[in-house]
Symmetry: C2
Subunit: 197 residues, 2 copies
């Protein structure tokens, strides 16, 4: 309902705020998101966001959590595209997808990794890049396809991807070199780790 002009109640301000914030985050840094700005954008009073987030930090935390779920989506897409392929192919597909996402959403990634300085952060959910790679590698190890520790290899792989993302975001790797860098980084880590590879 609420025919014309602004109805007193927005309807779903919380979601709208998160959406607007995520959007702003795509083309700017986290620190120059302003609650008041978001409120203005949504045609709502400057104190309205407070009803949904006690604190600016709480909004950022929620945003970080959304970020992890976005990563999950990306990885699921990669899994679909590389279904029934061998382990290495799957890891490369996931890696490329992950790093591309990071480049496209640097501020969001930064939020997701914001050191636990001000309060606790939500850890990456089951399925996200670190945990899921561990599962993948554990499974491979169980199948006897992996000759080294799944946990350690997963850690190195995650670090490799995170590092490539950081370098690319910082401008130390050109976008057109990125996929190759990911592929190569993963391949190098996989050398001599497998009986089958």
């Amino acid at each position: 309902m609420s025919s014309q002009s602004t109805p007193y109640h927005h309807g779903d301000l919380r979601s709208a705020l998160l959406e607007a914030a995520e959007d702003a985050l795509r083309s700017g840094r986290a620190q120059d998101i302003s609650l008041r700005g978001l409120a203005r954008e949504l045609g709502v009073s400057h104190a309205a966001p407070r009803r949904h987030f006690e604190d600016k930090q709480q909004l950022l935390d929620a945003l970080a959590e959304i970020g992890w779920s976005r990563v999950d989506e990306e990885l699921r897409q990669a899994d679909l595209a590389a279904v029934d392929q061998d382990l290495r192919t799957l890891l490369v597909a996931r890696g490329i997808r992950y790093v591309r996402f990071a480049i496209a959403n640097p501020a969001l990634i930064e939020l997701m990794f914001a050191y636990k300085t001000s309060g606790r952060r939500p850890p990456p959910p089951e399925g996200s890049i670190g945990p899921s790679s561990i599962d993948l590698l554990l499974a491979a190890r169980r199948r006897g396809e992996l000759a080294v520790s799944a946990n350690h290899l997963a850690r190195s792989l995650w670090a490799q991807l995170q590092g490539l993302a950081a370098l690319a975001i910082g401008g130390f790797i050109a976008d057109e070199d990125l996929d190759a860098a990911v592929t190569e980084g993963i391949d190098r880590l996989l050398v001599n780790t497998s009986q089958a590879y």
Copy 2:
């Protein structure tokens, strides 16, 4: 000179500002450094910093540059400690030193890698982790100790270190596992890259 109370001119406000800022950065995020706070700390008026930095961003840029030189110092220390050792040992020594520095100065590292969103960033000087590893590996390659591309290997190594730092800062690697993770990450990348290794 400048006996008691505050002399009208500070003497070297610019350096003092950078020092205070670097210090604040060691126990906080970049975004909650305030020019006014620094000025207050140094017993100087709130507009004084403006004489030395047009902009808050300019101070942060200067800070980032300092950060790169700090990294250079660290790496030089590592080189001293591992002098006359083989390539792998040297790389591990550098890696551990670099990552430990990153963990100890997360906000500074963040500044140094701040994506070139708002203006140009100073690139890492000659000698810093990326470039210097490249030199190291190029030399090894010239000596015939390296069977793969120096540039590509350097990139993977840098990414590995940067990623491990990011994970540790984010709380995904415990501090006591860090050195081992670095050693292992480097070793894994070096598998089968060398005739001599």
